[in-house]
């Protein structure tokens, strides 16, 4: 998933970014409210991790404004404000989850997955599409009952496609899911990873329609 991390503390920001990247997420990190405001208008992120005590623009007012403008992007608040009233205010402002600092990296990942799952209308962490089984918690993929080893990018690509089976995603959309702002993208990166997936799974699993993009067939 492509995540937007809004955190003003450089140590927390750097560590969270690194940890989430290890989990296979693409993480864009901004340090203040104004930057966060700009970043969400791109609508490229699947989820926003939002600190509340931000310079220049308070996280809570930012969230309220997004919701008022109809921005539906899932938001997980990460903050040191632990009072019940703060949690209520955060959730009522439109947050999907509320995580109090100091938090555990694994818990943060789990909550990110849980919010994504709920948003996709799923109850469990395993995605099943015919012979394909993706465990989003452990990031293990099984094809016809056998485990398949995928690289982090291949996995991210597969998860993006499997999240909306039957829907076409353009190369640009997939690139956005795979790479943060600060990452160099090779011009054929998406093709390379698609090729890897087809080779490891089934050549017919991912369809490419010129002009439309890529799709993962919905099982009959």
């Amino acid at each position: 998933m492509r995540l937007l991390l809004v955190e003003d503390d450089s140590m927390i920001g750097a560590a969270a970014q690194q940890g989430l990247r290890q989990e296979g997420h693409t993480v864009d990190w901004v340090r203040d409210g104004k930057e966060a405001e700009l970043a969400v208008t791109d609508k490229v992120h699947d989820l926003v991790l939002l600190d509340l005590g931000l310079p220049r623009r308070d996280g809570l007012s930012l969230l309220r404004e997004w919701r008022a403008r109809g921005l539906a992007v899932p938001v997980v608040i990460i903050t040191a404000r632990d009072a019940v009233s703060d949690r209520i205010a955060g959730l009522d402002a439109g947050a999907d989850d509320y995580l109090v600092k100091p938090f555990d990296l694994d818990e943060l990942s789990a909550r990110v997955r849980a919010v994504a799952r709920r948003r996709a209308g799923r109850a469990e962490s395993t995605l099943r599409l015919g012979e394909l089984e993706i465990d989003t918690a452990t990031k293990r993929v099984q094809w016809k009952g056998a485990e398949v080893a995928l690289s982090a990018r291949e996995y991210a690509l597969l998860e993006a496609l499997a999240g909306r089976p039957g829907a076409y995603l353009t190369r640009a959309q997939l690139e956005e899911r795979l790479y943060g702002w600060d990452e160099e993208i090779a011009s054929n990166a998406v093709e390379v990873h698609i090729h890897g997936l087809r080779r490891k799974l089934d050549p017919a699993l991912i369809r490419n329609v010129r002009g439309l993009g890529y799709t993962l067939e919905r099982p009959a």
Partner: protein
């Protein structure tokens, strides 16, 4: 001993004492008056008998059957013969002279009055015991109001004292109901004038106590909040180190973790310094402090940090006197200012930026200045940066948000002032502290 009981004992005993004194006077006077009255009667009787000019036989006739009379009437002949007596058997002798006399015979003590009339002596006598019994009875009757009034007064005093003391009791109960959680002022109902100052003083104390407590609570809440940030970083950094598979990666993660610990330590130290400067916590030491020497010490101690940050640290200490206060606290002030100046100087002006520490005499003040070439603080932020945990937009990484709050607190406690302005070069920050001079 309770106030109510003490008041009661004193008031009641005063009333009793006064009552008894008054009763004694009344009693004595009543007895005196009775005695005078009896003497008057005695005399009147004797004179009446004389004026009636009775012969002894006529007298006997007139007083026939009056043997039960209180008075003994005797008529004596000039030769000392008893011509007539109401009570024959009584042995009162003939008077030696006219007028009043006290006579003691075998039959008891008598009060007598005698007068002359045509050679005869008329003597009227009255039994003294009977007189005194009557006088005592009369006097005792005068005491009745006191006997009735004393218990009534005691009861009234008890009630009155109780009513007045009740204000103290209700005030005491109100104070007892106060706790660190509820320090609202006492009162509301009308309180006597005498107790009002006590209530006012208590309310004043409650107010200040509440303020101090609120400040403490706010501080603890702020501190807890502020500690979460470095702790969060530590936890995440630790997890990254645990996850690292390659030695080089683990090495990097551990190095970041070390930085995180340094920062957390700094925050904790600043929190402790802040807590120590709480006026409610302890009294401040007041000794002459050589400002130049403290400035020099700080510059020496910060030299290594300045070098590491590639900032040039300059000292210009020529105050040459002392200020009154706590040396360690003043050192903390200068340290915090110099530390900030080095960080922001480096951030704003890059390597080679200059930080200057000055101490000099300015009029009747001792001035300490720390100047940097950093980004400075916009005028609208210059008072807010002294608030605890306030961090401006350009706040440096890893600050606790407490450094300037600590400076402000310590400076205040020294009766000094601190102000921030633009540095002389047109950019950067100049922090100036003005101390009152030590009395010579």
């Amino acid at each position: 001993m309770s106030m109510r009981r003490r008041l009661l004992v004193w008031l009641l005993s005063s009333v009793l004492l006064g009552g008894f004194a008054a009763a004694a006077v009344v009693f004595y006077q009543a007895r005196q008056q009775s005695t005078e009255l009896f003497d008057y009667q005695l005399r009147q009787l004797a004179l009446t008998l004389r004026d009636r000019d009775y012969s002894p036989s006529q007298l006997a006739e007139a007083l026939q059957g009056q043997q039960d009379l209180d008075f003994v009437i005797q008529v004596w002949a000039p030769d000392g013969r008893l011509l007539y007596g109401t009570h024959q058997h009584l042995d009162i002798p003939a008077p030696e002279a006219t007028g009043f006399a006290d006579v003691t015979t075998r039959s008891g003590r008598w009060r007598v009055f005698s007068t002359w009339h045509r050679g005869l002596t008329i003597q009227v006598a009255q039994h003294k015991v009977a007189r005194e019994a009557l006088a005592l009875g009369a006097a005792l009757r005068t005491l009745a109001p006191f006997v009735l009034a004393l218990p009534l007064m005691g009861f009234l005093i008890w009630r009155l004292v109780g009513r007045e003391v009740r204000f103290l009791e209700t005030t005491a109960r109100a104070v007892a109901l106060r706790s660190p959680e509820s320090l609202e002022p006492i009162g509301g109902e009308a309180v006597p004038e005498e107790i009002q100052p006590l209530v006012d003083a208590l309310n004043d104390l409650l107010g200040r106590l509440g303020g101090a407590l609120a400040q403490q609570r706010q501080f603890i809440a702020d501190a807890a909040h502020e500690l979460r940030t470095p702790l969060t970083a530590l936890r995440l950094q630790l997890q990254l180190a645990q996850r690292a598979k390659e030695p080089a990666e683990r090495e990097r993660a551990l190095a970041t973790l070390g930085e995180g610990i340094t920062r957390a330590t700094h925050v904790v130290e600043q929190l402790l310094a802040m807590a120590r400067q709480d006026p409610a916590a302890q009294a401040m030491e007041k000794k002459p402090v050589d400002l130049d020497a403290v400035a020099r010490e700080v510059v020496e101690a910060e030299a290594a940090f300045a070098e590491a940050m590639e900032v040039e640290l300059r000292l210009d200490a020529r105050f040459g006197g002392t200020v009154t206060g706590d040396r360690a606290a003043l050192r903390t002030v200068i340290e915090n200012l110099v530390d900030n100046a080095i960080r922001y100087g480096r951030q704003g002006a890059g390597p080679g930026s200059v930080v200057t520490v000055r101490a000099y005499r300015g009029g009747d003040r001792a001035i300490l200045e720390v100047e940097d070439a950093g980004p400075g603080i916009p005028p609208e932020d210059r008072t807010r940066v002294f608030d605890r945990f306030y961090r401006g937009e350009a706040a440096a990484e890893g600050g606790s948000g407490l450094g300037l709050a600590i400076v402000h607190r310590i400076v205040e406690r020294h009766g000094a002032t601190v102000e921030l302005s633009e540095a002389s070069g047109g950019r950067g920050l100049l922090a100036r502290i003005a101390f009152p001079l030590s009395p010579a």
